[in-house]
Symmetry: none
Subunit: 405 residues, 2 copies
């Protein structure tokens, strides 16, 4: 497992404040008109000033060469080793859609599928039915199956053919196999257990009944007349940031997925819109109530995923423009970094290390005066795993006591 | 244990190809006429071009300050933590001389020694008898002791006073102590067991009988009339590169030792000569059959061991000259690095980090335009353990799926 250190006996509360400003998917590779990365091409006067007054470096999000999903990418920044803190697919979906997912609940990702007259799958994605149609099917399910054997049954639409099933009750287990045979021409699988617990056995029986009733309820649908369930999982019991790092933490993120991951490590949710000026104002409004603020900027990642170099440059510049308002709050530590790279040339997440700048009065200046992937190679923070950022931020905030005499 | 990550659930096969070109002992220290390292002094236009188009850095072969033997040095590059994947001395010798060393075999390193009339050791290395004499002694042994208690007994010469003993049979154990008392004036020790297994007890009895008969057979020798056995060991059961990284891997190495280590991690052996042009041609001939190619260049290390700065420069230039032929194959990833440093000023292996260059279309260029130890300090790969190279190479080859959602 990771090179890590339990800091609980070192943390102290000195009233200082930390802002972690995540520009999602910030890192790139050289692909622009002048052979630059998006961040090299962007004009970022505020980040450049903060780098010059602070220090910088690069972070490996999960492990060298490993491309992180958004969950692992953020957990690393929050100081949680993404290899250790893994979340089941069902739980991630529940958290990702902003569902009120409670300890003890068991969630599964659902795919609507199309079954033929003999109950065999002909399309594992039910023709990717549009969201509106999917919502209607989910409404039918919610009306038809509300409770089985004392277990509350909750349904939520996600996107197209995808939906969420949550079982809520006492003594549920999540040692359940997927019912998706991963192939057409076969019937959905029975719900099997993969551990020996009574809880999983009971939950499997409930899930079996739930899915049987549910498929009866939608048997008349043309496309979405079947259901495949995957990734049964409970909400993980993770230690909160307050417990591990002694900070009252809050999240400002307009996209449910990022809020969800932040809430899994104990952050409180503040209002958010994905409009950066409003999100900064939301953070400012709660300034007195928290010690650590995670504010998320989404558009950079979206532009990278779309392969739109110019748009990514534009959004980087927009995010940069939000820095003065954050500085105006006089944080003790201000960090700008990313959960992962999303080079527009690759149209997706990548494993490339992400640039990081850390501004604080105790920063040891490293002579770097620009914030980009190449300049940060000469930065004082070096090249580190993302999970080393949080201890550094705490230290610069004066929140870590001396270790040993 | 190491900071590591199991990548098995992430590997995917996209048909891409990786070449790992190892310039053995490449790293140096400044000791040349102009205060340069061998690599700084060498003209390496091809490596310089690849660095400029790719990225670079430095690798710690085993652990900071630890000088690796050739086995650990290569295992790190193959993505196997050398601290975890250790191989018994007998097994290393068997592999190193290219012996057909099979699972279940037990190998031991032998030293011929000189015994006096009372059976006490007078010279632990039998006067370092020349290879030719040693071969004759081994031939006598091979003729005299072929089988004991159903166990096949195999002998092979190694070098001077060193030879190899391999026991082949069912249910053998390798929990056996050395018979070398490490001092003159004492008799060779009895073969003792160091675990409680039946297998080791039986193997000790066989080894005892083998050594007794063997020493009888060579009792008439003037110098090599005794045998000391060390490092009884089986071939380790290591997961193959195919299993861990999803690549069909092949080795082109003219020296048995390197082939042997590569075969321990499941590489197939391709013809090799230690003439670089021929070895590149051998690799090219198998291009369609493998995903990962390890090609070994020996002469740089030899020159370093000889303390010959100029020769090492010459051989670095020779290796550089082979790069265009490898590029011509259009690999997706081309890596040039070393298993360890062999500074000619030190006439031996050293712990100094080794330079590494990684060329691929997804490389984030770092602005470095020369391939040498100092320039690579500014490289985008940073300073990392060698075992992080393999995940990076796989990522750049598009062979690692996203981790988490």
């Amino acid at each position: 497992m990771a090179d890590s250190m339990d800091l609980r006996h070192l943390v102290q509360d000195n009233g200082s404040k930390i802002i972690l400003f995540v520009w999602d998917g910030l890192g790139g590779i050289q692909s622009g008109p002048e052979g630059k990365t998006e961040l090299e091409a962007a004009r970022t006067p505020h980040a450049d000033r903060l780098v010059a007054q602070g220090c910088c470096g690069l972070l490996d999000p999960v492990y060298p060469g490993v491309t992180p999903g958004s969950g692992p990418g953020h957990l690393g920044l929050f100081g949680y080793d993404p290899r250790e803190y893994q979340i089941g697919r069902g739980a991630l979906e529940a958290v990702g859609v902003g569902f009120d997912f409670r300890h003890g609940d068991v969630a599964a990702r659902l795919n609507f599928c199309t079954l033929d007259a003999k109950g065999r799958i002909t399309d594992r994605r039910a023709g990717r039915i549009p969201n509106e149609e999917s919502k209607l099917v989910v409404a039918k399910l919610a009306a038809a199956v509300k409770e089985v054997d004392g277990v509350e049954v909750l349904w939520a639409p996600v996107k197209e053919h995808r939906a969420l099933l949550v079982l809520r009750g006492t003594d549920l287990g999540d040692g359940l196999e997927d019912t998706d045979p991963q192939k057409t021409g076969l019937a959905p699988l029975d719900v099997k257990v993969r551990d020996d617990s009574k809880e999983s056995a009971r939950t499997a029986a409930v899930a079996r009944e739930v899915l049987a009733r549910a498929m009866k309820a939608i048997a008349g649908e043309t496309k979405a007349n079947g259901i495949l369930a995957r990734g049964f999982a409970k909400r993980p019991h993770w230690p909160a940031m307050q417990e591990r790092f002694g900070v009252r933490a809050a999240v400002v993120a307009g996209t449910p997925m990022y809020r969800g991951v932040a809430k899994l490590v104990g952050m409180d949710e503040l209002p958010a819109t994905n409009e950066v000026a409003k999100d900064v104002a939301s953070l400012a409004a709660a300034w007195d109530k928290y010690d650590f603020f995670f504010i998320h900027y989404k558009h950079t990642d979206k532009a990278g995923e779309d392969g739109n170099f110019e748009a990514k440059v534009h959004y980087i510049e927009e995010a940069d423009g939000a820095l003065p308002a954050l500085e105006h709050l006089s944080p003790d530590v201000l960090v700008v970094t990313a959960d992962h790279s999303t080079p527009s040339a690759m149209k997706g997440h990548s494993w490339h290390p992400v640039p990081v700048l850390l501004w604080s009065k105790t920063a040891r200046r490293d002579g770097v005066r620009e914030f980009n992937e190449v300049a940060c190679l000469r930065g004082g923070l070096g090249l580190r795993p993302s999970m080393h950022l949080m201890p550094l931020a705490l230290a610069h905030a004066g929140r870590l006591a001396k270790f040993g005499a």
